[in-house]
């Protein structure tokens, strides 16, 4: 664990890295726009003015494609990392991630079902898929809640019910994918997660809802710390466990569902970023919130940039990058930590 005195240095470093990666991300991509051109385009502002250095198309690529996309990745990274942090506290389990309560399986199932029924498909209206996904997430989470007896039941009950429902929904999704083999790749594509369809409008909707939902969480740091104790201790110290849990669960689930609805299912970030940050800066949520936020944003923007440039003309799904990139890092940190404690 890092010495407490180094925390400010650490977050400044993270922030600096984030800025650098974001700017670099703007300048890279298969369309071959040079850094000089990128800078000129940014200086030009959001409306195109005739310019010798770059074309209208290039201007549009930067302003209408790359910029909203990078910002969407940033928001998604923040949402998933902070939600992961909350879920890990709620379940007192550092291996929890935001998808344990059915958000991902519900969304994927709803999209697969929608395609099968022909309600969603081809390239139907921009918001049909996100809407279907969101309803699926909400439905699954609600079902898990009801089935496990509500907040009255322990987090373990919720977790177990979540696992069971995840299996069921995954199986059903596979069924619909199989019955619909010609559309298989569409569903697969979506489930692997991608920022390729990001635009300003979607960013506005997704960003405002999810960031607003996360904001109150920043003020519940002490409660999050105390929730890590057993229920009896938390109650005894004065935390209304049931109420706080409900609020935290509701807010983070909302933020995550909206993000998944627009970006697909991007795994690992919600699990790894808070976990890694906890290994570095400790369990106090006052610190963890800030570092998870920065770490999530950084990881996602980096992953998205790689997704766009690793294979030239094709784009890799972001979810694959986050998994392949993050898992080894995670293992290294775990092994090093295990050695420390032995």
């Amino acid at each position: 664990m890092l010495n407490r005195k180094l925390y400010p240095l650490f977050w400044v470093t993270l922030l600096a890295l984030l800025v650098v990666v974001t700017l670099a991300s703007l300048a890279v991509g298969p369309a071959g726009i040079t850094i000089k051109q990128t800078v000129a385009i940014i200086k030009d502002g959001p409306t195109y003015q005739m310019n010798a250095t770059f074309t209208n198309a290039q201007h549009r690529i930067i302003w209408s494609l790359r910029l909203p996309r990078i910002l969407t990745a940033l928001v998604a990274g923040i949402v998933l990392a902070v939600s992961g942090m909350v879920y890990q506290a709620l379940f007192r389990n550092p291996m929890a991630d935001p998808y344990v309560l059915g958000i991902s399986s519900g969304a994927a199932f709803a999209v697969a079902l929608g395609i099968y029924l022909g309600l969603v498909g081809g390239a139907t209206g921009v918001y049909q898929v996100p809407l279907a996904a969101f309803l699926g997430s909400a439905g699954a989470t609600w079902a898990i809640f009801i089935l496990s007896g509500g907040v009255r039941r322990s987090p373990t009950m919720l977790l177990l019910t979540g696992i069971a429902l995840n299996f069921l929904l995954s199986a059903l999704m596979s069924l619909f994918m199989y019955l619909n083999r010609s559309q298989l790749h569409s569903i697969m594509q979506w489930t692997l997660g991608s920022f390729s369809t990001a635009n300003w409008e979607k960013l506005l909707i997704m960003g405002s809802i999810s960031l607003l939902a996360l904001l109150p969480i920043g003020f519940l740091n002490r409660e999050l710390d105390i929730l890590l104790l057993d229920d009896a201790s938390a109650l005894s110290v004065g935390v209304s466990v049931r109420t706080i849990r409900l609020i935290l669960l509701g807010l983070s689930t909302l933020a995550t569902s909206v993000t998944v609805a627009f970006c697909g299912i991007i795994g690992f970030v919600g699990l790894m970023v808070p976990h890694i940050m906890r290994l570095i800066v400790g369990p106090k949520h006052k610190n963890l919130f800030l570092f998870s936020l920065l770490g999530g944003a950084l990881m996602m923007v980096t992953a998205d940039t790689l997704a766009r440039v690793l294979m030239g003309t094709t784009e890799l799904p972001v979810g694959i990058i986050t998994a392949i990139g993050g898992a080894p890092l995670f293992i290294i940190l775990l092994v090093r930590r295990k050695r420390e404690t032995m």
């Binding site: 991509g29 298969p30 369309a31 071959g32 726009i33 198309a57 290039q58 549009r60 690529i61 209408s64 494609l65 790359r66 022909g118 498909g121 081809g122 390239a123 139907t124 209206g125 921009v126 898929v129 083999r181 010609s182 559309q183 790749h185 569409s186 594509q189 979506w190 991608s194 390729s196 369809t197 635009n199 409008e201 766009r308 030239g312 003309t313 094709t314 784009e315 295990k338 404690t341 032995m342």
Partner: protein, 326 residues
């Protein structure tokens, strides 16, 4: 407290590992043997041929297929091969097809044996074919299973080019005993292509929309048959340097193609597809969209299938392009 828990766990692991070693090695041997067994067990694929017979080709795997006489009961497992058989005039000999074999319309009278990926082997056997033909969408498992059941299977895929198509037609014609008809069909294709190339326009840049939007951007990349059709029709495919159908939307914007080919999306009509494409950002900012230089008239089954209609496809495409450029 935490520390002691971790230690005792490590200890029990040691004990387990000792026991595990003993079980592991023989287990590994068994697993490896079982996995390699099929390699030893594979029987002869080739029909031993002593005599030359006219109904003989080397299929695209390199397997020599010889029939004693012209096949009377053919099962076709690829839509393009079904088309070819009908074009060769022996559609009446086709006793089985896949669900996707939808052209010509007479094909719908023929019973189906399933889809492209896992057709029913049983069903195929029950039709008692003397020849099964399968093209490049066929799965290795299917071919293997059919051959094990004693059927003769010809895998015919000569490359995703127009030239490959003519070889394809020739092979099918030879194997089924109608080589002269095959020549005719090929000639017709050549004629159409020549007619297409008689249009004189400056080669426009073109983008073929195989998929767009939420599901990712897909196009006729340089390694596809569509690419050959597009190029032969006299256009320049902006995605010629890409492979495997995948593409990035910002490249479309960067190239800003002169013309967009937009076939109807699966399950939708061409008008509906066009409406959606032209109103979805960022596609709606493309010059070709703004100036309505979109070709929707070419049906995908004509343009995507390697078969007798390919010449027609080139001609239709060239015609559509010429109309727009006028």
């Amino acid at each position: 407290m935490y520390r002691s828990g971790v230690q005792s766990h490590a200890q029990t692991q040691d004990y387990e590992e000792c026991g595990m070693q003993r079980i592991r090695i023989p287990f590994l041997i068994i697993v490896i043997t079982i996995t390699l067994f099929p390699l030893f067990a594979t029987g002869q694929k080739e029909a031993v041929v002593s005599e030359q017979s006219p109904y003989s080709i080397t299929d695209s795997r390199g397997v020599v297929i010889t029939l004693k006489e012209a096949p009377q009961r053919i099962v076709s497992l690829s839509p393009n091969l079904t088309e070819i058989l009908f074009a060769l005039g022996i559609g009446d000999k086709v006793v089985g097809r896949t669900e996707y074999c939808d052209y010509p319309v007479e094909a719908s009278d023929i019973p189906t044996v399933g889809d492209l990926f896992s057709p029913s082997i049983e069903k195929i056997l029950s039709l008692e074919p003397d020849l099964v033909v399968i093209g490049n969408l066929g799965q290795a498992q299917t071919i293997d299973a059919l051959e094990r059941s004693g059927l003769t299977v010809a895998f015919i895929d000569e490359g995703e080019t127009l030239e490959g198509t003519s070889r394809l037609i020739t092979k099918v014609g030879t194997l089924t005993g109608v080589p002269e008809k095959a020549l005719e069909v090929n000639q017709a294709i050549d004629d159409s292509v020549k007619k297409a190339q008689s249009f004189s326009f400056d080669p426009p840049t073109v983008y073929y929309v195989a998929g767009f939007g939420e599901w990712g951007d897909f196009t006729a990349t340089g390694d596809t048959y569509l690419h050959d059709i597009i190029t032969t029709a006299g256009a320049i495919n902006i995605a010629s340097d890409a492979v495997n159908w995948g593409y990035q939307v910002e490249l479309i914007l960067a190239h800003d193609p002169d013309i967009i080919i937009l076939p109807a999306l699966w399950g939708s009509t061409s008008e509906e597809t066009k409406r959606i494409f032209t109103t979805t950002p960022p596609y709606n900012t493309l010059t070709a969209v703004k100036e309505d230089r979109i070709i929707t008239s070419v049906e995908n089954s004509i343009i995507e299938r390697q078969g007798p209609r390919s010449g027609q496809a080139v001609l239709l495409l060239a015609q559509a392009i010429a109309n727009i450029l006028r």
